[in-house]
Amino acid sequence: MKKRPGLASMTAVYRRELLSYVTTPTAYVFIAVFLFAIGLFTFQVGGFFEARRADLTSFFSFHPWIFMVFLPAVAMRLWAEETRSGAIELLMTLPAPTWSLVLGKYLAAWTIAAVALVLTFPLWITVNFLGSPDNAAIFTAYLSSLLMAGAYIAIGTVMSALTAAQVIAFVLSVLVSFLLTALGLPLVLDFFSGFIGGAGAEAVARFSILHHFDAAQRGVVEFRSIFYFASLIALCLGFTALAVDARRGG
């Protein structure tokens, strides 16, 4: 079967990128560190057992904060490494549409995040062993978390396309991710309401990742949150494609 050329390129880039994650220690280290961190926060900071509730609130509530550091590290090499090694020249002289390259790389990084999330299943088994949680709510929260992970990776992707230095890409993505997340913190909101009033602060909060993940982690699906994350991803990937294409201009 002959696939559409863009799709074939995207699949090829996706597979290569995934292969590169698993043939170097990168993916394993990321996933191991992620699982360690999420465990530490859930049990030590979140008080998973002390809460004596059969749910995963203490687990999901730390996702934005861990993703914020962990996912820029996954995404930082996507484009920066191509630029540094010069392989970008090879990639951009292949007759593939830019979107297929951007999407293929992005989806590979997202897959690593998905694998990391799936590997937290022992926690889900644990709560089911200890009590009878609302599994539908947990499933929804997992999907929301995956969508949120997609947003953080998209931020990391665009930063990676803007520089040849992975470290700079990492630092910039953490910074942007932090700002977008922390906009929803009461601390930050109080600060804003001092200037622009309560309603203004409320409006600012609507643009924060935390705000949109808040309902989702309790298992509530809100269309506008899905829309928010999807638009954030689309916006970042659109900018990535523009940044990649802009290189042709020299």
Partner: protein, 240 residues
């Protein structure tokens, strides 16, 4: 006409890297780009390969404008970038499969193309070894195989023999000569003997402009030797 280049210009900041380059190329020709470092050889090749967009001028491959219809033009070009950048963690086999599939080939067609290109570039036993463990000569051959995968009519090779030992250089030159029989080739090189050995035409570039476009024999006739021709025709950074 396989390739028609007219009035190509490219500026980086204040530096005019390419300043009105024009020439044409037919099947059966092997053109050697000669010129000092920074003369604009690589920038010109990049614009023909569709990696950079020209500020002015056009490059047309079989009358397809590279800047207007980039992907259609790129389907007809094989390009070996300077230094042959590759993905070190891949093997030539997986790397070439990747390039073929990114070009839109089906998995079956890709397998077939990789086998043929690996044979043409004489990759031999190295096909399953990680690229980062290969010698410079073999890496260059992997880059060449990648450029040959889709059997393009136009090949653009940026310093294909740079950094190779004499035996490897000899092997790559034989390959270039063979490829040039039914294709059009542009190679850039600093080796004047290479131009004499494989090129049917030499284009000497200096400061973004073509200063000579003749057969190597005609250049030697005129200046006594290619080296004299190079020194007389180009100034480069050293002499400015």
């Amino acid at each position: 006409m396989l390739l028609q280049v007219d009035g190509l210009r490219k500026r980086f900041g204040r530096r005019q890297a390419v300043d009105g380059i024009g020439f044409s190329l037919d099947v059966g020709e092997i053109v050697g780009f000669l010129g000092p470092n920074g003369a604009g050889k690589t920038t010109t090749m990049r614009m023909i390969a569709g990696y950079l967009e020209p500020d002015e001028g056009t490059a047309k491959i079989f009358n397809i404008d590279v800047a207007q219809e980039r992907r259609r033009a790129q389907e007809r070009v094989g390009y070996l970038p300077e230094g042959a950048p590759l993905y070190g963690e891949m093997t030539p086999w997986t790397f070439l499969r990747f390039v073929a599939e990114t070009r839109g080939m089906s998995r079956e067609a890709a397998r077939h193309a990789v086998r043929r290109a690996a044979q043409d570039a004489r990759l031999g036993e190295t096909i399953d070894q990680p690229i980062e463990t290969l010698s410079k000569g073999y890496r260059r051959r992997v880059g060449l195989a990648a450029a040959l995968l889709h059997d393009p009519m136009l090949l653009i090779l940026d310093e294909p023999t740079d950094g190779l030992d004499p035996n490897q250089r000899h092997a790559v030159r034989d390959l270039i000569r063979k490829l040039g029989e039914e294709r059009g080739l542009i190679i850039s090189t600093h080796s004047l003997e290479e131009v004499e050995a494989v090129c049917t035409r030499a284009i000497v570039i200096d400061q973004g402009r073509i200063v000579a476009d003749k057969t190597p024999a005609a250049l030697i006739d005129e200046h006594g030797s290619l080296e004299r021709a190079f020194q007389t025709l180009t100034r480069g950074e050293e002499r400015v």
